[in-house]
Symmetry: C2
Amino acid sequence: MSKRLTTTSYAVLAQVAVHPWSTYELAQQRVRYFRYVWPRAESAIYREVTRLSSMGLITGRKEYVGKRARTVYSITDQGLAALRQWLDTPVSPFAMDFEAMIRLFVAPLGTKEQINSTLTQVQNDAQEMLRFGGAVKQEFLEGIAVTQDQVYIRALAVDFFISLLHTVDAWAERTLREIESWDDLTPDGKNERGLEIIRQLPVATPEESVKGPPIPPDTQLRLRRSR
Amino acid sequence: MSKRLTTTSYAVLAQVAVHPWSTYELAQQRVRYFRYVWPRAESAIYREVTRLSSMGLITGRKEYVGKRARTVYSITDQGLAALRQWLDTPVSPFAMDFEAMIRLFVAPLGTKEQINSTLTQVQNDAQEMLRFGGAVKQEFLEGIAVTQDQVYIRALAVDFFISLLHTVDAWAERTLREIESWDDLTPDGKNERGLEIIRQLPVATPEESVKGPPIPPDTQLRLRRSR
DNA sequence: GGACACATGTAACGGGTTACATGATTTC
DNA sequence: GAAATCATGTAACCCGTTACATGTGTCC
């Protein structure tokens, strides 16, 4: 068992910091915590709990619900200190896995139905997540959220979540409409239209912005470094 | 070596489908292809190339640049067929790793400087990626992009990329301003403000939308299934 | 009292990462 | 002709996943 803590470790630690949980609850309640910003399999949570416990960052207390034993974990002072220390290290950048984009690139090899169904799936996923966001919103407004005392922070996170999903949803929508307007998936006659879309994108080309000093080479974008 | 192809395999295959590349070029040029939507380490690309080649989905031809040997890979008919077949399988959903969100949640354990630097980093990353997006835009407008004949498709992808980054950038900006306005990171007196932000989020609460039929239980959001 | 979902895990595989290695070219 | 960088990989660890296991409460 490695000694290094990963972001996943800190995610679990952060969740335990809110209040004590059993491992099962931790794994389940990730939905309301980091499932969407740091998705991991349940078994990964179980392993992290074992690890954090063996390192003394959380402590388990055996409880019984009827005849069934369960271990409820709380954060230790050492665990809190570890979290605080972590806040001084550099963040790993935003990263996404978006398979639909790869499929879009190779879409001309397939059919209109295929790319349509891919984009529809993207939109459905986004709308489903938005529904979850709506549920969270309501919980806070009703004052029954587990982290009700942290609204002032959580509001900022939910804001991000909602904004991002609206962006994905809207993009899927307009892209579906665009493809609908095509007769087929070949490049024939679609060149100028594509350039027009590109031209209208709200972003400056380097040509337009060569007034400023050149970008120093060490400003290179970091790849995700999540270990 | 497992026989199953992963999304990473198909990403490499899709890139080789554009035109032949040496392995090194493939690993480098991911920047212009899937680096941002399917980020993987270079060594993973090398391994995939070996695998795809041994499965006959791509073929390598030895070339020499001066004294240095290199293998240039092209896609085979079998590889094209595999890509086409893949388009009929369900997409794996959008997923993100966004460590900054975890840090935001535990921000009250640390200092204002710490959360500020986290959010600034998020904004810098987004702006750096936007600059890259601008460069891609210019390439297409100048007509010198490698996939110039695919503008009509790529435009849709670049649109997504730009939209998403503007969303991230704007969120980081307004969140930085919000936190700037605080005296400290404690909940004291920030409760009502948080609720106000939540209230204004552009998403329907389930309460508001109970007119429609209940959501069938099998509409559950899938977790990323990228294998 | 059988079925089913809840609660709590363990085992094993493999994909992704980090770290290292090595010759060839270019730079100064 | 030394140093830096390019080009091309290999090795090994470990995180994350999928699949399985097993007892316990609950529903009808």
